[in-house]
Symmetry: C2
DNA sequence: GCACGTCACTTGCAAAAGACAAGTTACAAG
DNA sequence: CTTGTAACTTGTCTTTTGCAAGTGACGTGC
């Protein structure tokens, strides 16, 4: 028997109508924004994401890339068919998370001792 | 041959020296920033956090309040001894997460249909 | 003066998510 | 032919989360 669905008015995927909560429903975990950060740093391939210093587990990376694509934040482009090899690019929607990352970077710089940042943050390549 | 192992000096609790990753090590989960948001909305008591529309599980709330306090983002102040009753306030350090929340709010407003925000975001009461 | 409700938690257990290791597929290099 | 690389998938184990229930010290109504 199905539940009578006791939480009607919010879209199924969001916990509330609060924009902050909804954003967290998309990127609110330990890894998603790390991948987005890497895209801002000019990385595009699976292996490049894996070789970041945070050492994301491979199954998590694969899953997050799918979710980011499904959420429309990134686009997957195949550059060869067999074996299938793809590159990932931020969409406009994804690139507009820039201010969030910048705000985090500034907070971290101010309050966490020992962090360093690499000024590679050129405007990201966007593919819509 | 092995690389000289470039992983020595990170503080145990941080995955890397990247400021973004380090911030995510503190607030990078589904609930922590929801609590911080509530503090920005002027909430101070356990019951107020619980009654937010996201319905945070009570054990998670208790644990997050402890972690936020340990991280120096909030301060717990007892206003009565028996039974012990406390209020929670942002510290300067915690209040400086404002730009992160604002950036998320703007992104959500722009890209997630149906979110609404409540302009209660008066400057939060700070206790250091 | 005692059942009843509230507040701020804690505890126990099942379910979901994450971490780690190993396997797979297709090709390319030596 | 053997080894290597890229991009995954699968399996197993551990950790974190979610939900329900319980606890202790009150305060309120009758």
């Amino acid at each position: 028997m199905k539940k009578p669905t006791v939480k009607p008015s919010y879209p199924d995927s969001y916990r509330s109508t609060c924009p902050v909560a909804s954003v967290l429903d998309i990127v609110g975990d330990k890894w998603t924004l790390i991948v987005v950060r890497d895209l801002f740093l000019g990385k595009h391939r699976y292996g490049e994401f894996q070789s970041s210093p945070e050492a994301i587990p491979t199954n998590i990376l694969a899953e997050r890339l799918k979710r980011l694509e499904a959420a429309g934040l990134i686009k997957k482009e195949f550059y060869q068919d067999n074996p299938p090899r793809a590159e990932y690019f931020l969409t406009t929607r994804g690139a507009d998370l820039g201010p969030v990352l910048r705000a985090m970077r500034e907070w971290g710089k101010q309050y966490i001792p020992g962090v360093v940042y690499l000024e590679k943050i050129a405007p990201p390549e966007i593919r819509d």
